[in-house]
């Protein structure tokens, strides 16, 4: 669409600008402020330069949390994206069952995050949870509060349960936007199911899948409430992801300097990775 140049449009944007700037810039400045100062309480501050940044970047605690975070994010992306696409492909396209599927599938997305955590916490308990009891009954020694492997298994299951529907709904929206003529032409051309997927469905889903992956990437990097209710980062530190560690340092230990430095590094990592991914995915379109 041809847009006209109109500087007065700024007035339309002004309310948004004021609200978001108030919420983003003031707190962000506070964080930056803390990140370069040392305090011994009583509101006495000393200039600390980039000490905190160096400390955080060198600390094995941060490295471990970052490692766990990356492992978590890439695991859930590797499961949720293909799974979501497969489910979207198998969904009905017309009739009452579409609404039924969509409504039921969207349900996990609208449950408060701590309830999701609590639900899986109970669901997985070895004595009284359906999942825990079942696994133990059929012979697995499953206890997510004691064994790190089981904790990870539960954590990933929970995220798949919670968020795969987002990918399904996005992929489905991409699929239903493909006109019938494409499928008819493919049939006439003798295309196999795989060729239809590869040359029609996948290209048409590319845009929505980019959004899905971006959203899932950002949100999984920011995840806090569900794992903190489910495992609290344990057993030990085995499921302590970045946000959990950050809150432990900031609100638990009140080490504001390191927490602020860590926040900024964390935020920059997300921005950088999202930007790289977005640029790579959209560059092909412009060619």
């Amino acid at each position: 669409m041809n847009k006209t140049v109109n500087q007065k449009a700024w007035f339309f944007v002004l309310p948004v600008l004021i609200l978001v700037a108030f919420n983003a810039i003031v707190p962000l400045m506070t964080v930056v402020n803390y990140s370069v100062q040392e305090t011994f309480g009583d509101n006495v501050f000393f200039w600390a330069g980039i000490t905190w940044f160096e400390d955080v970047l060198r600390s094995s605690r941060f490295h471990d949390a970052m490692g766990r975070q990356l492992f978590f994010t890439f695991t859930i992306l590797a499961i949720e994206v293909p799974l979501g696409v497969i489910i979207a492909l198998a969904m009905p396209r017309k009739g009452i069952w579409v609404s039924v599927c969509l409504v039921l599938m969207a349900m996990p997305l609208l449950i408060p995050w701590n309830v999701v955590g609590a639900m899986w916490n109970i669901f997985g308990l070895p004595e009284i949870g359906l999942l825990g009891k079942t696994l133990n009954t059929i012979g697995f020694d499953y206890n997510y509060t004691r064994q790190p492997g089981d904790a990870w298994f539960t954590l990933i299951m929970m995220d798949v349960w919670h968020w795969t529907s987002l990918v399904v709904l996005l992929a489905y929206a991409g699929l239903v936007s493909i006109p019938d003529a494409y499928y008819q032409a493919a049939k006439i051309d003798g295309a196999s199911s795989w060729a239809i997927f590869r040359y029609i469905q996948l290209p048409k889903m590319k845009r929505v899948l980019t959004i899905a992956i971006l959203l899932r990437f950002m949100d999984s990097f920011n995840i806090y409430t569900e794992p903190s209710v489910l495992t609290g980062g344990g057993p030990g530190n085995s499921t302590t992801l970045l946000s959990i560690d950050l809150v432990k340092i900031a609100l638990g230990q009140f080490d504001l300097g390191p927490a602020a430095a860590m926040s900024l590094i964390y935020f920059l990592v997300i921005l950088l990775m999202s930007w790289i991914f977005y640029t790579v995915m959209t560059r092909n379109e412009e060619q």
Binding site: V5, L28, M107, I128, S177, S243
Partner: protein, 266 residues
Amino acid sequence: MKRVSWLIPTVYIVFLMLPIYWLVSMSFKTTNEILGSFTLWPQNFTLDNYRVIFTDPTWYMGYVNSITYVTINTVLSVAVALPAAYAFSRYRFLGDKHLFFWLLTNRMAPAAVFALPFFQLYSAIGIFDTHLAVALAHTLFNIPLAVWILEGFMSGVPKQLDETAYVDGYSFPAFFVKIFIPTIAAGIGVAAFFCFMFSWVELLLAKTLTAVEAKPIAATMTKTASSSGYELGLLAAAGTLTIIPGAIVIWFVRNYIAKGFALGRV
């Protein structure tokens, strides 16, 4: 392949429903039954857990608080996002692309990073522990999303609509309210749905910015869970009740949901 394709969504939906079923079934059990034996459905069906929630103000006020700040947030976010989205979809102006991208970066910000600064900022201006504090904090994430969704829907409306209205003698405000808003009603519904969804499910900020007066139901649950030991039945009932508003909202937007999740721009 065609004949078994219904199996995949069915299995997936069963997988989704199992933990929910477990929570709901537990909410109808007595604490003794939950802890004492493993039962697939309530043996001694009881409504006691729900009775506690509906009679104890510390419980039911949690719902009132949550719904209050979610509503304020949704109205506020959509109201300010509408003109902004219109500007982005219709005009070019100095710095428009940078501004749009900057808005979206806020959507990427980890809530954990903002928890403490928000606490200090809102305490400083004296709105700590009010509904407004939570609603304002959530706008940081919801306004960018609402602008994004609405811009997508508005770009799908041909510009001729605006021009025709001006030719017909509408002033801009009259056109915007009487013609444009009804045209993109679906988009507004979808944007409101997303604002509702995020504000309803978020807990970290909501918990950090409230103490007593505006405490959300989700925070009541966690505090109760730790203070009164293991009242699982009560917890399950409270959890079950938090699912209901979401389910109602989904039902209303079910026809737009597929398009809405693609943020209006398939």
